[in-house]
């Protein structure tokens, strides 16, 4: 079974600053996919960024980037130039062969003006 751990229940950051959210996972698979989803109060899960395990290059999407350390089974999310609209729950997720996703417990991020 795959498990995903997010060790930071809550984080806060000042607007325009940078914040890093941590995620570790446990799996015996060699190929898999990792995702960060954002869930605002509206409840919809919004994909932020994704990473294929076979790619060594870290994924980047505008202000969002990841630090993927396969050997350490670590997948952290860095948000640069934080905006008030980034305030939300952030979930790290693991997926194998496009089957069900395993989510972490989430990190509640608050961006302060």
């Amino acid at each position: 079974a795959q498990t995903v751990t997010q060790s930071q229940p809550e984080m806060s950051v000042q607007e325009a600053e940078t914040v890093t959210l941590s995620c570790t996972y446990d799996t015996s698979e060699s190929n898999y996919y990792l995702f960060w989803y954002k869930q605002p109060p509206s409840r919809q899960m919004i994909l932020v960024i994704r990473q294929e395990a076979y790619k060594q290059q870290n994924a980047t999407e505008n202000r969002f980037s990841v630090n993927f350390q396969k050997a350490a089974k670590s997948f952290s999310l860095k948000i640069s130039d934080s905006q008030l609209g980034d305030t939300a729950m952030y979930f790290c997720a693991f997926m194998k062969d496009n089957n069900d996703m395993r989510f972490g417990a989430g990190t509640r991020l608050t961006v302060k003006p």
């Binding site: 899960m45 919004i46 496009n98």
Partner: protein, 118 residues
Amino acid sequence: GAGVSQSPRYKVAKRGQDVALRCDPISGHVSLFWYQQALGQGPEFLTYFQNEAQLDKSGLPSDRFFAERPEGSVSTLKIQRTQQEDSAVYLCASSLVLAGRGSNQPQHFGDGTRLSIL
């Protein structure tokens, strides 16, 4: 609409009643997933469909939970004889590709149904 649609958005039921939650996936999406999200937690997998076939129902917590997708499009999650521990947000997600293809196609989520059992 272009996204995954779930209804109702909110559902309140008395303990012991049966409920039915609906999910309308993105048109053409082959895979459909149901998740249960308890307050303050991440979503937990319930079941998965590939077209009309239910390929994995290992996450369903009891035999009171039943899901179907008879025509490979709209899916219904039914909970019989509801109990208070069933209170949660139920999320539906769909994906374009078939399982096992090794694609990185993400799952697209609906807004969920918040179920409250009194």
